[in-house]
């Protein structure tokens, strides 16, 4: 192992060359490190933004595709099925990968999914019940033959409105999984309705439903839970649409209760469920989840939207910054390898005597090459280690400057509202301000990953740059040591 000692002695003896190489390595290392840090920062910013935007995905209609096909005549409007009414179902949409109940359930059957909910609303009429109303003077308005209520179907064990705090269960329970799956007639009602109508847990009452072209169906529901709503509905909406829009006048019924209204299983499958949410376990899995879904069904008339517009709006510039710095790192590394390779290649010529002597005394070519590589590696490692002090300072400033300026630009453009998804769950969307605030706290400092990347680059640089000298050694004819010198 004396070749290691020789390497050290060489470096010590050839201070000029050592310092020159060290300086070049230091410059390269600083650029590389700065590039890596910027790349890292942008990657982190992307992840952070993903997390801030949330792990929610909406399965929505792809109107562009649908209208496109209609215009081209591929799709007949009549074939679409009944697109009117409150509960819409369409087999064509189902087969075209649109957001129908069947497709939705297929997509959410995934390891990425933490929870999901779909909700379908329609109106029912109850003759016996009194409606809640804002106008306390007139009391409830009887609409001729009964009060109108809004029904919200849900498929999750705990409906989304309850998980996100729009409503709160005050007594009783939610529907069990069995009740949801079998479509038993259980119902959740608002506490005001309960009070107005003197209803308690366990009571049953009858409503009359009329969806699509079905006959009016009277169904008895058993109250299993009473909730309180926190949702405030715009007065003007209520003025136009009637009191049934008030959140107090809402019943929560399990999705499959549609069967008891008279829908076939196949019809339920084809119901459009545009108001839905899929919560993933990890926001960073969104792309993987989308890919998985695309593999299960061809999502043509539908689209999985994870606030992509907002994300892209925020992340577009940062993403390209990351890409550019990645390319820069490669360019610098290659250029560096060339420069250092050239220097070592030039010095190997003046070392051919040494190579000859070593070969003549029986040193193996491999050890001679190892010595050369080691010499460069030692310099590289020291330089790269030094750069972790200077480079981190550099990178931090660059990244901060860039991230700040990019964010200032996106701040304005993302307020036009288009970036927001307009599903019924839009109240879940985080404030852009929030996201930006979180994002600027992205940590740009050195971390083990960057250090490892740096080390790996330094090592491969030194090996790369000694390729030419090594080839020279490998092809060296030891007799040269005798002949060149005596002639």
């Amino acid at each position: 192992m004396y070749f290691m000692k020789r390497a050290l002695k060489y470096l010590k003896n050839k201070k000029g060359k050592t310092l020159l190489l060290g300086f070049i390595f230091l410059v390269i290392a600083n650029f590389v490190l700065a590039g890596l840090l910027v790349q890292n920062a942008s990657k982190k910013a992307q992840e952070q933004t993903r997390i801030s935007i949330g792990a929610d995905v909406n399965f929505i209609m792809n109107w562009d595709e649908l209208l496109n096909d209609m215009n081209r005549g591929v799709l007949d409007r009549d074939e679409l099925g009944n697109m009117k009414g409150e509960v819409v179902h369409s087999n064509i949409l189902s087969e075209g990968g649109g957001p129908t109940y069947k497709n939705f359930m297929e997509i959410v059957d995934s390891d990425y999914v933490e929870s999901y909910d779909v909700s379908v609303s329609f109106e029912v009429i109850s003759e016996g019940l009194r409606q809640y109303t804002l106008d306390t003077n007139s009391g409830s308005t009887m609409n001729g033959n009964g009060a109108v209520f809004d029904v919200k179907l849900f498929s999750a064990a705990e409906p989304r409105d309850f998980t996100d705090g729009t409503a709160e269960l005050t007594s009783g329970r939610f529907a069990t999984r069995e009740e949801i799956d079998s479509g038993l007639n259980v119902i959740l009602i608002e506490e005001n309705i309960a009070e107005l109508n003197n209803l308690r847990l366990g009571d049953t009452f009858s409503v009359s439903a009329s969806i699509l072209d079905y006959q009016n169906v009277d169904i008895d529901y058993e109250i299993v839970g009473i909730y309180r709503t926190f949702e405030v509905v715009d007065q003007r909406m209520v003025g136009k649409g009637g009191d049934s829009l008030l959140s107090q006048n809402r019943f929560y019924i399990p999705f499959n209760a549609l069967q008891s209204i008279g829908m076939e299983k196949s019809e339920i499958d084809d119901i459009l469920v545009t108001s839905n949410v899929i919560s993933l376990k990890d926001p960073l899995n969104i792309d993987a989840f989308k890919e998985e879904a695309e593999q299960k069904i061809e999502i043509k008339y539908g689209r999985l939207d994870a606030n992509d517009a907002l994300y892209n709006n925020l992340m577009g510039p940062i993403e390209s910054l990351g890409n550019i710095s990645g390319i820069l790192v490669v360019i610098i590394a290659v250029a560096g390898a060339l420069i250092i390779g050239l220097i070592t290649a030039l010095t190997v010529n003046e070392r051919k005597e040494e190579i000859g002597i070593l070969l003549a005394v029986g040193e193996s070519k491999l050890k001679i090459v190892s010595q050369f590589v080691l010499e460069v590696t030692i310099i590289a490692v020291i330089a790269f280690a030094l750069s972790s002090f200077t480079g981190s300072y550099l990178g931090e400033n660059i990244s901060k400057a860039v991230l700040d300026s990019e964010l200032l630009e996106t701040q304005d453009s993302s307020y036009d509202g288009k970036a927001y998804n307009k599903g019924s769950y839009s109240k879940d969307q985080k404030n852009v301000q929030d996201i930006i605030a979180k994002e600027s706290t992205v940590d740009i400092s050195l971390n083990p990953t960057v250090l490892l990347q740096l080390l790996g680059l330094g090592l491969s640089l030194s090996v790369l740059s000694t390729v030419i000298p090594s080839l020279y050694v490998m092809r060296f004819n030891p007799k040269q040591i005798l002949t060149n010198r005596n002639s």
């Binding site: 004396y2 000859g356 002597i357 005394v361 029986g362 030891p478 040591i481 005798l482 005596n486």
Partner: protein
């Protein structure tokens, strides 16, 4: 038994489109305890002969036996490493190592049975050749030509090998130093029972050897 036995060795260079033979059907047996010199005009092939004898070059025809073993069977690298040492006209030593480090370096590489610690053994050896400790720990660039050659010879001995090959080892030295070096070579043969083969242009050097050889028409001829 002869230490080095050249049997029907031939070697030539391709010159243009025909082959020019430098050594042709050369046979000779070198013995331990003898100091040989090889004379011959420039271009006669002395260096080529030494390169072949030292395993730096392969024979094209014929074979080389070291202690009866074909050196191709030993392996040229191993042969150079374990059984012989070279002394060149110049550039014998690695410039960024001190004299003693140069000696230790070959001890480490050769890994023959040499008393440890290597550094001490090396210093003693150098001392025998008149290189005192203060000089031994100097960069070899700060030693005179004669001192450098003595270090090179000491290095040759450090590995406990029996065959020493030298190509014009005194070519660059003044007469006094040359005499001193030759004296050392003689002593290596006489006192240490080595086989020493020295290529030289100098009749003076040659006259001090046990056996004077001349390379002529690709063959070795004994003068005496």
């Amino acid at each position: 038994m002869s230490i080095l036995n050249l049997e029907h060795v031939s070697y030539g260079y391709i010159d243009g489109n025909k082959k020019r033979m430098i050594l042709s059907d050369l046979s000779y047996q070198f013995e331990r305890g003898k100091f040989y010199t090889v004379l011959g005009p420039s271009g006669s092939g002395k260096t080529t002969l030494l390169a072949i004898a030292g395993g730096l070059e392969k024979t094209q025809e014929g074979k080389l036996l070291f202690d009866g073993k074909n050196i191709n069977d030993i392996g040229l690298g191993r042969y150079r490493k374990k059984y012989l040492s070279f002394v060149f006209q110049q550039f014998n030593l690695i410039p960024y190592l001190t004299a003693v480090e140069n000696v230790v370096n070959v001890m480490e590489i050769t890994d023959n049975k040499v008393p440890k610690p290597y550094k001490e053994t090396a210093l003693n050896l150098l001392n025998q050749f008149g290189i005192v400790k203060s000089k031994a720990e100097r960069s070899i660039l700060k030693l005179s030509g004669g001192e450098q050659q003595r270090v090179a010879i000491a290095r040759g001995l450090a590995t406990n090998v029996d065959l020493i090959l030298a190509d014009e080892p005194s070519g660059n030295l003044d007469t006094a130093t040359e005499k001193e070096i030759i004296k050392i070579f003689r002593s290596l043969a006489k006192d240490y029972n080595k086989c020493v083969i020295v290529v030289t242009h100098s009749e003076g050097v040659s006259s001090l050897s046990d056996i004077q050889l001349e390379l002529k028409d690709g063959k070795l001829i004994e003068r005496r």
